[in-house]
Symmetry: C2
């Protein structure tokens, strides 16, 4: 079974976790170990916090603890990227079940540290407490604004083009595959790809930094609750209509293969799945020619998936059979509980 956290004690655990996450950082004036961390920023500060709960946001039969730590950080890095910020520091608060094992918490921290190394972020503090309930991981990330202005949800203009980075629906397809009651035969490589989308999402920090540093990105949002939900947020905040072309939504072949096998519309994965951590937003039509080569040069895939139209604020989907109003269907943590857990 291994050592329990309560056998090791709070201070013993913190010491072990510190050893895992310690890294040098020229901006860091005071590191872990005092009442608070002190960092030096030269530009406006971007900050976000996200809580992840076992049984709601993750299940240990669907994600290993190292990936869980990695993904917990990515969720917040993605929010910073969507503002046009560069993530720099993180604080991690853990509420641990009484019977929690040291091994699992160390593995989660190794995943956090891995993402930190990859995206040049330092863990500068946190808190470890116990709970009678399931594990709760709360990650706060702070960073610096890169451009002159933050990327907001509210700037989309009639005539703009709607874009999304990477591909969407992979994380949702993996969840569907692993929680399906049918035994569906998926190729090993397809399953691996879908698993990567679920367990190791890539925060779009590079894309966000390009969008922030050149003129012409009029709105941006990260895809955490599902592409449709994020599009609705942009439409509402900007007071515009978005017309999305279903044929242009970027999905992995593995998602389309699996959808066919499971007799699910792949658009359901792409639009309502969530946890893609891509960026979606709008570009001034004249700036598309600037952004696409810049993104391409940095290895960021971008798809132009629709347009900003005059008309009632809302989101519409153009499919081969016509134009349909697109439901939000974003994951609501309370209303949709029974569906997801």
């Amino acid at each position: 079974m291994g050592l329990l956290v309560r056998e090791l004690g709070e201070f013993g655990l913190i010491e072990r976790l510190q050893a895992i996450v310690w890294r040098s950082d020229a901006r860091l004036l005071v590191n872990i170990g005092d009442d608070a961390a002190v960092v030096r920023y030269d530009r406006p500060v971007v900050m976000t916090t996200d809580a992840l709960v076992e049984g709601i946001h993750f299940r240990d039969d669907l994600i290993d603890p190292v990936s869980l730590g990695y993904k917990s950080l990515v969720a917040s890095l993605s929010d910073i990227a969507a503002m046009g910020g560069r993530p720099l520091h993180t604080l991690v608060a853990l509420a641990l079940p009484f019977e929690e094992r040291v091994e699992r918490i160390e593995a989660i921290y190794r995943g956090l540290a891995e993402a930190c190394t990859q995206y040049d972020v330092s863990i500068v503090g946190g808190d470890v407490v116990s709970t009678a309930g399931p594990l709760v991981i709360t990650v706060t990330v702070t960073g610096e604004l890169l451009g002159a202005k933050p990327l907001l949800r509210s700037g989309a203009q009639v005539g703009d083009v709607v874009f999304v980075t990477g591909d969407v629906g992979g994380a949702a397809a993996y969840l569907h595959l692993k929680t399906s009651s049918e035994a569906l035969r998926v190729s090993e490589s397809d399953e691996w790809l879908l698993q990567q989308r679920h367990q190791r999402p890539v925060p779009q920090i590079t894309a966000g930094s390009i969008l922030a540093q050149y003129e012409g990105c009029t709105s941006a949002n990260d895809v955490s609750d599902g592409l449709s939900s994020e599009l609705h947020e942009i439409a509402a905040a900007s007071g515009v209509q978005l017309l999305i072309d279903s044929e242009r939504l970027p999905t992995l072949p593995a998602v389309r293969h699996y959808a066919r096998l499971a007799r699910v519309n792949p658009l359901d994965f792409a639009l309502f799945g969530g946890e893609d951590y891509q960026l979606v937003g709008t570009l001034d039509r004249m700036a598309v020619g600037t952004f696409l080569p810049l993104m391409q040069a940095q290895g960021v895939r971008v798809s132009l998936i629709g347009q900003v139209k005059r008309g009632n604020a809302g989101v519409y989907l153009q499919t081969p059979t016509g134009i349909h109003q697109l439901p939000k269907k974003g994951y609501d943590h309370f209303a949709a509980r029974d569906e997801r857990t």
Copy 2:
């Protein structure tokens, strides 16, 4: 019973909470409602996070929800003050039980908002999720460093004087009173005072700002886990010996009355109680004459409770019967669970 959070839904709840906490703030470039907040800081950034769990850190028979919200913020404000920082912004993440009532969460937010108004801090974001376990409140506070250097735990020098602000032991005495199996008769005014110490602690922001802006404060820590535990942290970080005079520990008469009634040593409340949110630290002997009048002029009570001595690092207590090594006895969230819950 009132409305349940899951009946209202995540987005409905967030809208209500936003209305409670909204305030104008010239530093705030992007407020609640986008992927992340953006704020403007002119000096190094101080940041801390604290998680509070129902049944561990608070019980609804010992604290009303408005005070709980208030106190949740104070715990983090106190950490910023202990670094010599000015708290400015906060992010609040809530993990809510499935049967959570909207009314209680709104009350917690009113308490958070009350503390924000009082200490000039803005809630700029957060997260609301559900959990199968008890309520978890995770508060992150960021602020600006006030002085040229942060106040650390590690600078105490032989010859320095040990100080503590305000009084200690009141929060612990209240917990003891309310969880005692004996029916002890305490005067109404004493009980009210002890309740204030437990439910409405005062973060030492003014004291921290004075300590940060003048030369001569060589170490500082806030009293969250208990005075003894915090003194041990300073002794260990600074590599010095602290000799504390038991007769100089500042306690309320209400604490001493109650201790006599309950046949408890009042020093137990003062040294091992915790949640006092006072500042403890060391002053260069030559600077005492500068700090005391400055503190007094701002209404901050300061007691000089001991000295930094040459010798083995550690904390010793001078009592009328002699000098004793002082145990840490800080609250350990795992080891001490059975005692506290």
